[in-house]
Symmetry: D2
């Protein structure tokens, strides 16, 4: 465990790296890493404050990131990982890396025997992504590339995951990069993007082309009544999946 | 790759184990394993028939299983794996194993360094599960247990995934089995089951208790128009998640 | 009451006109209208068969129509009537009339003091629509027009309801036909149709332009459990609403 | 037209009664009713301010009411009116009246030849309801009753619409009040309420018992892209419908 989550009594989460002997939590203080490491699941007092110590889940990592507004929702992240068969040991290309949110989730899913190649054009985003990868403890198996996803250099990768405004532009490069049977996944908020992306996919040898939307409803489960939440349930985007082949029928 | 998918021109999928020199496909014929292994992504003629050869994705594994009607949908499988932090190397308890559908997906996600303990009371289901695990090539890191999920023997596991009609009955055993910070996930079609399960969870030291439903809409993306599918989009069930702790605020 | 519903024990519905002394039910027999008229809510034996007698609801009228596959769903019908302010006494233009499904619902909502003008290009559809209007007992206040909705002749109508594949083409004619403050409603399955229709609306003086989709979930409510139905919940279409004005800000 | 809507350039709506020669708009000023009456669809300057004049739609009436938080959403209002066959001339019982939101919509749908009986226990709510009915111009055909919906006095009504926290308690009174074939509609946010209501309905002679939920998605339709709105789409409640009969099979 290279990082730990400190949850305070108001529900606020702090992600803390455990890379040295001493740990510093911004706005809280400094204490010995060893003290935290053995305290997972327990309440711990640090100075005048009290925290519940947890190992960070993928959802925790996503929530504690320095990030911009455009980050894949957990429901979409989960579906991309499953449908694109992101498994232990897999080699995966993704981009635009943005703040590294998708890269962190993919890196967790491929594990230390896998490898993630993250493309991002904006240098300032790359710096944030690097920081987020380190804090999540997955930097060792992610390679950040300050390059265009339309010029993927890797070959024979298991999956290419596209989260840029014009996914169609990266589809030919994705086909070149994928191994036979490899998986393509793209994410777009608008139906015009979906349409153009699917058209680009159909111009290459891909099968199993599917587009779907996931709607998540949080449920309120209380003694006085069970019902879907009155709170927000907005659109996030459409997911398109496909698999590369070398022949078709 | 221990198994391979043969896709015929009508979309029918055949999962074939590659464990010997020769491969036999029911209703098709027998041929050399080596011929298939090198053909992923290609069209291959076998006697009078033609197949597209693919490595099986989690979705393919799920679709080609011998199974009963009650199998988690891909959207729910994906969410369980993500929200319960099923990662490479994790030790996970699940049950009722049924035909092994969830066990296969979990085994893929934990990889060869992880371990899955699958509980199932019905012996005839266990036999089917064993077959499905072998065909999916993950039998080596799954232990099937002909036992009640309310009597989980393992300790310090990373996650317990409950898919039985009375999940609440297994919640205390799940708490005992989980490591501090470990994840609980339950699946139920009915609101009453959710209510009773959440009540059982609240009687133990769990935090981050959340219940959600995922609605999947397939999209039709054609030149003549983009729209959600007119076809079925039914309810599958509610997912409840929680994390074990040893203290709370 | 000019027609009556006969419901058999298997749930099949027969709509029967009560316009003479004698009533004939296809496949059942002939009997006196008076006998039925007094029997609403009761079981009635006709020869060897037994029926429950009901006055037809809008849903019954819709279900017992001779019709093609493309008929507005009750959820969409209900929303169109409400959002376009189809009230007693209103004058409403609608088309394509098709089998008359929308015309029947509108005629019921405007009542005998209102008036419906139904446009339909295909003569064979008009004949079916006429039959359906008569059986629903609303033919007296609906005028069927074998004409193009793009050439609406009426002026100062309260609402124009468009259900044709190219709603945008009828938007200018709808604006001409509407009274100031009058309501436009259009229905389309595809996003491209919606986009082109909204663009046409924005080229005229309309305000309150809104597009929405309604998703209906049937609930299973039984002693053993409450949950959304596992059965189909498909897409039907998008509804776009707007109001004509003579000035804007 | 007994009231008129003034829409300002920021989208704010003012509902104004047109019952005398002079009209007073709070915070704006006083002017001659005749001037407004002829201006529907036009922009009108009143002192330093400018308004667009419209006749109020059901949606406008709902939005401009003095009201509490618990008012039926337009999608649910529309479905209740359609499924319960609230037509011109119908006699309808509804309650709890609350601020009169449902009563106004029903009164519009039954028109001047119909009649609405609104039950409400809280006197202060009744006063607000009376005001809202007058401003909507429908007070003449609504009778407010300061009484319990479980003691409905009317008989042979066409529909009973129940929006109270314990709808099951009013189901027997609703059955007594309804004519044979008459429609019952109830609204509840929680599944426990639905379950108890459906149980109460099944203890009386009702047929066509159905429960449904409507989910409304607003669509963003712009040149740069079409997609469902990112904004809120929360749960409102479940609708249950049934019809009274005197016999069953």
């Amino acid at each position: 465990m290279s990082s730990v989550l400190l949850l305070d009594s108001r529900g606020k989460k702090h992600l803390v790296a455990l890379d040295g002997d001493m740990v510093r939590v911004v706005g809280v203080g400094t204490f010995r890493a060893e003290k935290i490491r053995g305290a997972v699941g327990h309440r711990l007092s640090v100075g005048a404050r009290t925290f519940l110590i947890l190992d960070p889940s993928p959802r925790d990592l996503r929530e504690t990131m320095d990030r911009g507004p455009q980050v894949l929702a957990p429901k979409d992240l989960a579906s991309v990982l499953f449908e694109a068969d992101v498994h232990p040991g897999a080699r995966v290309v993704e981009g635009g890396a943005g703040s590294g949110s998708l890269a962190v989730a993919v890196a967790r899913a491929v594990g230390p025997t896998g490898r993630v190649y993250s493309y991002e054009l904006r240098e300032e985003a790359l710096a944030i992504a690097q920081l987020n990868l380190e804090r999540a403890g997955v930097a060792s198996h992610v390679e950040l590339r300050n390059a265009d996803l339309c010029g993927i250099r890797e070959r024979d990768v298991d999956a290419v995951l596209i989260d840029i405004p014009n996914p169609w532009a990266a589809v030919p490069a994705a086909w070149e990069a994928l191994r036979p049977g490899g998986h393509l996944a793209t994410f777009s908020p608008n139906m015009e993007q979906v349409k153009e992306t699917v058209a680009a996919i159909r111009r290459k040898l891909f099968i199993d082309v599917r587009t779907l939307e996931l709607i998540e409803r949080e449920m309120e489960v209380r003694d006085v009544g069970v019902r879907p939440s009155f709170a927000a349930l907005g659109h996030t985007g459409y997911l398109t999946f496909a698999r590369k082949v070398l022949d078709t029928f």
